[in-house]
């Protein structure tokens, strides 16, 4: 048994582990075990990648490229390949992942199973929108090949399927053309939520990537920094020398706390405001600002932290976000990595995909036990009434009723589950 936790560091639990390292051997390794779940980089925040007391199949050894068609941009690879390794391989060849989340230190399998999204959701949808084929190994020894046109029900169950339909071994991804690693980026400070929505709407056409940091402690609420970017031909220039930082130890208390948050946010806003305007930036610091700080999740101290990410429909978006910020302020809590972004008007590829048209708000909270959970219960009410949902990849605690209300295609999904696969999250939210 070995102790394994996830990115939120809420705890670590004993697991049996098996390493998957050659795709030809996966079937045999899944067969004769107790129920397990595939585990890649463990970068999801809660319990979607955990199975305490049970089996984890580690997929990082399945990290081989299989083929890359330079003309069409079709990449076939094993599921344990990191998005980082894809980007570093293909960007110099004029291609890029069409969708990438805020960290590139995740596996392809994890990106599909959580149907991750990025700053260009309004333009490109989610990760699953660009997957053309998946090979799925079931624990009964069979395998299923599926894609948007081939066995589409299996495909739609597996994209965003939280790893529960089988172990993804191989994926084929359609890359997109880029003109190099550089982005033209612009930072625009905003003073209110109305201004945020105006900026978001105005930017959608001309800017592929949009995102905003919101200062949830600002008195009026809704102050923030709107960032937008698009790929640009900046010629040949040296890639930035990234100075790798690290959080070398776990501080005894969370460094994100009542005392630090206000000055953090004030400084971040004002530095951002001073640097407002447009500049050329390399894709790595723009897309993955925290990847350069190894073990940044340690800054929340020994008790770890929660992420709370919801999406609510646009019609009620402004009011719901305002209400959530109000609850947080009322609780005397606050969040540093607070991100507000509009999603595009498009149907998500997976039955349990998180993105839906509307606006998404992501917040981080140091784990303060009951106090934090009580705050979440109040936020759940707002999200539920707004007809929104929470993001399973970030979740460690949502109530089953909220999950069922937020994911109406659950009943359609369930028959696709592999009976030999179970996770802490599946037991919590689906009963098995």
């Amino acid at each position: 048994m070995v102790a394994v936790g996830s990115w939120g560091r809420l705890g670590s639990w004993e697991h049996q582990i098996r390493t998957l390292s050659h795709r030809s051997r996966v079937a045999g390794l899944l067969h004769d075990t107790q129920p397990g779940i595939a585990h890649g980089m463990g970068r999801s925040y809660g319990d979607v990648c955990l199975n305490p007391g049970g089996m984890l199949w580690l997929t990082r050894g399945l990290d081989r490229f299989i083929s890359l068609d330079q003309d069409s941009g079709r990449l076939v690879c094993e599921a344990g390949v990191l998005l980082r390794d894809i980007q570093r391989l293909v960007i110099p060849r004029g291609w890029a992942l069409p969708v990438t989340p805020g960290t590139q230190l995740v596996t392809v399998g994890g990106a599909i199973a959580n149907d991750v999204h990025g700053k260009n959701h309004h333009a490109a949808g989610s990760f699953g929108d660009h997957v053309r084929r998946i090979e799925l190994q079931r624990t009964d020894g069979s395998d299923i090949e599926c894609g948007p046109e081939l066995r589409p029900d299996w495909f739609r169950a597996t994209v965003g399927g939280l790893g529960l339909t089988g172990v993804i071994t191989i994926a084929e991804i359609q890359l997109r053309r880029v003109v190099g690693p550089w982005l033209l980026a612009e930072t625009v400070p905003y003073q209110s939520l109305d201004e945020f929505f105006r900026l978001a709407d105005d930017s959608e056409l001309d800017w592929e990537h949009t995102v905003s940091w919101i200062d949830c402690l600002a008195p009026a609420g809704g102050r923030g920094l709107f960032m937008r970017a698009r790929n640009t031909d900046a010629g040949l220039r040296p890639a930035p020398r990234s100075r790798a930082l690290a959080m070398p130890f776990v501080p005894p208390v969370s460094l994100v706390n009542k005392l630090s948050l206000r000055p953090f946010n004030l400084a971040y806003y004002n530095i951002g405001k001073r640097r407002a305007g447009s500049h050329i930036v390399h894709y790595e610091p723009f897309f993955y600002p925290l990847d350069n700080v190894r073990d940044w999740n340690r800054m929340y101290g020994p008790r770890g932290f929660f992420q709370y990410q919801c999406v609510v429909p646009r019609a009620v978006g402004r009011d719901a976000v305002q209400a959530i910020l109000g609850q947080i302020a009322g609780a005397g809590a606050g969040s540093f990595l607070a991100v507000l972004k509009t999603f595009g008007e498009r149907a998500a590829p997976g039955m349990l995909s998180f993105p839906q048209p509307g606006v998404t708000l992501a917040l981080d909270f140091p784990n303060q036990g009951t106090r934090t959970r009580q705050l979440f219960e109040r936020l759940d009410v707002i999200v539920g009434e707004a007809g929104g949902r929470l993001y399973p990849a970030k979740d460690a605690r949502m109530p089953r009723a909220l999950f069922e209300a937020g994911y109406p295609r659950l009943a359609e999904f369930l028959p696709h589950r592999d009976p030999g696969i179970s996770s802490a999250m599946s037991r919590r939210l689906m009963g098995s």
Partner: protein, 254 residues
């Protein structure tokens, strides 16, 4: 102007450490790489990956029967056939398999197999390549030993003895080839997180990442260092272990 590609041969190319060394080599420059292993499916997967990473490299695979790794005539034939395809600049002998120590203590067949696969077989490959390299008077011969070969320990002395044989063999080759232009590099990885050691992870041992070990190896091979601990911190740890007096060492549960 283009220079000829460096020719690299890896014996045991489907091992995780060897595969990561190959990735670093093809990332650095286009090379002419021959992969030798027992499992054709695994070899083909490794080769396909390297071809995607480096379309300019030439990646060849040579399957070999299991017996081909331990039968002296088969080893000679395999090495001769590889060298016949062109002079070799770099050889990495990386095959091996971590035996179950307690099984070896009761089953001499298992002990014999572990000694042959991890000790005699790599030595035979080294001997066969050494002659060819000596003839052309250049090249690097890298052999994977282990920190386990530095001092016999109750928890894995069968493997340790085999790797100790490899270490002494490499030392002898270094002596013989000194001044010849051929470099012999003995690599001693510390415990590494690979499929071979997956069960150790379960026992809570702290393992180095395979990327870290491969980087240390590739750097050491490029410099032609006689002994490379990978990662480097194991040089210090093993110096202490080697020098512990028996009355202390024998009380340790390692």
């Amino acid at each position: 102007m283009s220079t000829a590609k460096q020719r690299i041969v890896i014996i045991g190319a489907t091992s995780a450490i060897a595969e990561h060394c190959a990735r670093l080599w093809v990332a650095d420059a286009a090379v002419d790489l021959s992969l030798i292993g027992r499992d054709p499916g695994k070899l083909e997967a490794v080769a396909a990956d390297l071809r995607v990473r480096s379309p300019q490299s030439l990646i060849r695979i040579h399957g070999a029967e299991a017996a081909g790794f331990v039968d002296p005539l088969a080893v000679r034939q395999l090495v001769d056939s590889i060298v016949a395809e062109g002079a070799v600049d770099r050889v990495l002998i990386a095959h091996g398999s971590l035996p179950d120590q307690s099984a070896c203590q009761t089953d001499l067949t298992a002990a014999n197999e572990a000694l042959v696969v991890n000790g005699i077989s790599p030595a035979l490959f080294a001997e066969a390549f050494a002659g060819h390299l000596q003839t052309v008077g250049r090249g690097t011969l890298a052999i994977i030993g282990s920190v386990a070969g530095d001092r016999g320990r109750k928890s894995n002395y069968v493997y340790g003895a085999a790797k100790g044989l490899v270490a002494r063999y490499a030392q002898g080759l270094q002596h013989r080839l000194a001044g010849s232009g051929v470099k012999v590099v003995l690599i001693k990885p510390g415990p590494t997180a690979t499929p071979m050691t997956a069960h150790l992870g379960q026992q809570g041992a702290r393992l180095a990442s395979v990327e870290e070990v491969a980087q240390a190896m590739v750097d050491g091979i490029a410099k032609g260092k006689p002994v490379v601990y990978a990662p480097a911190r194991w040089a210090l740890i093993m110096m202490v272990i080697r020098h512990l007096p028996a009355f202390v060492f024998n009380r340790m549960d390692i």
